[in-house]
Amino acid sequence: MYLATTGAAAATSGLTRGRVAGPVLALGTVSLVTDISSEMVTAVLPLYFVLQLGLSPLQFGFLDGLYNGVTALVRLLGGHAADRGGRHKLVAGTGYALSALSRLGLLLAGGGTAGIGAALAADRIGKGVRTAPRDALISLSSPPDELGRAFGVHRAMDTTGALLGPLAAFALLWATADAYDAVFVVSFCVGLLGVLLLIAFVPGRDALGPVAAAPTGPRVPLRTRITEPLRDAAFRRIMLAAALLGAATIGDSFVYLLLQKQLDFAVRWFPLLPLGTAAVYLLLAVPAGRLGDRIGRRVPFLLGHAALLAAYVLLLTVGDGIVLLAGVLGLVGVFYAATDGVLMALAGPALPAARRASGMALLQTGQALSRLLAAAGFGAAWTLWGSGPALVAAVVVLAAALAGAAALLPRTERRSSCS
C-alpha cells in the first residue's frame, strides 16, 4: 500500500536517496485511482451511446472534438489559477472532483443528449484543469536532480490505472449483463476516493512554501500572465522542440490501423493493441526517468522520438507479422516512456516555481495542438496518396523534426530556479 508509506516517505525524502518524495507517491496514487475511474467510462461510452441510447457515434465524436478544443483553453486557465497564490492542490482537486461528479451526471442524464453533453463537458474541463497543477506539484515536491524519476513513478502509476480501468469496466458489464449504470456508479465511487486521497495526502499551499505563490499584480492582463513563461529563452526552446516533434507525431490510432491493415489479424483483437503499448510504457517509465536524471533529460526525450521513428520505419519495411507487431507496440511504448513524463522533468527546472503550473500548461497545450495538426495532416496525406507514401512522408518529417529538436534543446538544462 502506498498510503501507509506516504507520510514516512515524505518525512525522510529530504535525507534518503532512492525514494520518491511522498507527495509524488500520493499524487501517483490519486492518478492511478482516478484513471481507473475515468478509463472505465471512456471504454464503455461508445457502447453506451450506440447500444443503450440508440444515438449515433457522430454525436459522440462531435462533442468529443468540441471539448478537446475547450480543454486546451481550460488547461491554461487551470495552470494560471494554480500559480496565483500557490493553489495547486485546490485547483487540481477541483478538477478531480468535477470529473468524478460528471459520472453522476451521466447516470442522472438517462438518455438526454443535453445532460450527457454537460456531463462530458464537466469531465473534460476537470481533466484540463487538473493536469498542469498536478505536474507542477510533482516537480515542486521533488529535488530537481530527481525529477525524471519522480515523473516516471507518477506516469507508471497513472498508466496502471489506465490499464485497469477498461478491464474493470468490461468485467462489470460482463457481471451485470451490460448494466451501464453500474459502471457509472462504480466509476463515481472510485473517482470520489481519488479526490479524498488528494485531500488527505497531497500537500497544500502551506507545505509548498511562499516560493510557489506568484506575486501577481492585478493590473497585468490575463493573456500576458498566461504567456509569461515564454519570455524565458530556455523554456521557449523546450516549448518549440516539443511543438516541432508533436507536429511530426501521426497519432496512435493511425499506427494501430496500419498494423491491422498489414497484419490482417482478427479485428476482435484490435482493442488490445493499446494495452501492449501501455504495458511497455508502464515498465520503462521509471528507468527512462532515472536515465534522464543521470545523463540529462534531453537524451531520453530525443531517443524516445527516435524510437517512434523506428516504429514508422518498421511499418514500412518489415513483413514478418510477429516482429512487426511486437516491434511497433514496443517502440511506441518506449516512445511514451521516454517522452511523456521526461518532458515535464525537462521543463520543470527551466520554470520558476511561481510560474511552474502556467508554464507546464502552456507546454502541454502546445504539444497537444501540434499533435492534433499532425493527425489531421497525416489523415489528409493518407486519403490523397495512400498509406505507404503518407508513411514515407511521416518518416521524413519526423527525422527532420528530430534534427531540429536536437539543435533546439538546451544542452545544459540545469538552471535551477527552484530553490
Binding site: 511522498g22 507527495p23 461508445p46 447500444l51 465524436g61 493518407w382
Partner: protein
Amino acid sequence: MTDRASAPAEGTAGKGPGGPSLRARVIAIVVATAVLATVAVVYTVSAARRAGSADTPSAFGLDRGQLYFRSTREGDGTGRVARLPAAPSARGAAAMSAEAAPAPDRRTTGGPACERFHAAGGTALCLQRRPGIPPAAYAVVLDGRLREKRRIALTGIPNRARVSASGRMLSWTMFATGDSYATTAFSTRTSILDTRTGYLIKNMEDIPLTLDGRRYHSPDVNYWGVTFARDDNRFYATVSTKGRTYLVEGDMRRWTARTLRENLECPSLSPDNTRLAFKKRVREGARDPWRLYVLDLRTMREHPVAERRSVDDQAAWLDDHTLAYALPGSGGKGSDIWTVPADGGAPALRVAGGSSPALVR
C-alpha cells in the same frame, strides 16, 4: 544535498500546520474506502440481479402477420426480441386513429437476445454482444423457429441488420471503435452473407466503386445500411468518402457498385421495390441532423415524410405505404417504434419501448 534540504518538498505530507494527524487521515481514508466499496458492490450486485439469462431458447418462431422488434421496456425481456400481432392494416384513417391512442401492448416477450434484429422469408438476423474482455460481437443467423444456424464473430458495435425479402441475403454493419482518423469521424464495417452458398464478404469496402461515372479509389470509403432487391442480386447502400455520403446501387454477381445520388444514408427498399426510404442530412453538426425521406426510383424524385424529428435509423417498410423506425424514448429511456405513412400523414407511436422493427409477411 543542500539543494535538497531547501527544496520545498521537505516534510510536505507530514503533519500540516493545524491539519489532522497522519493517523487520523489514514483512518478517514480507510473508512471512506469501506463506505464507497460497499456502495459500489451493493449497486453492482443489484444490477446483476436485474439481468436475466440471455441464452434461453426463443419462446416463439417467425410467423406471418407478426411485428417483431427488440424490446427495451424495463423489466421482463429487456434486450430480447418480442412480437406483437400486426394491425390489420396500417393504412387508412381508421388505422391512423386507432394508433393515435396506442392499443394495449400485447407483446409476447422471450425471443433471442439481440442488439439489432431483422427477419424476412423464414430467416432472422440477430446481432449480439457478449460482454467480456475483450467484448465479443456476433452475427447470428436464425431459422424460421428462431434457432441458431450460424454464428459469425465480429468486432465493434452492432448497428444495422437486414435480411432480403426471400431470406437469402443477409447484411449487417458494425461501428468499428478505435480506428477513426479524426475524432468526429467514425468507421464502419459492412458484411454480406449469402445463406444459400454460405459465401461471406466480411468487409465490402473493396467492391469496385464508380463515383459520378468514374472509377473511384480512396482508402477512406465506408459502407453501411445495405438493402437488397427482390432478385437477391441488386442492392442499395450508403457509401461515405471525404465527408460526403452517396447512395450506391450494387450488383452482387458482378461485384460492382456505382453512386446514384448524394446526401443519402441508410436506404431501405419498399416491398414492391419502387421506392427507397432513407435519412437525409438536413443540418450540419450533431443537433437533429437527419430527416426521413422517400425516393421514387422511377422518377428519382424525393420527398420528406411527415415525421419532423431527426431519425437515425434504417427505416423498415411494414407494407408498401408505411414506414417504421426507432426514436429515442420519451423520458430518455430506451427507444420507441414509430410509424409514418410514406405518402403523407402524421407519424404515430406504434410500440413504446422497442427498436429494430420487422414485420414478417
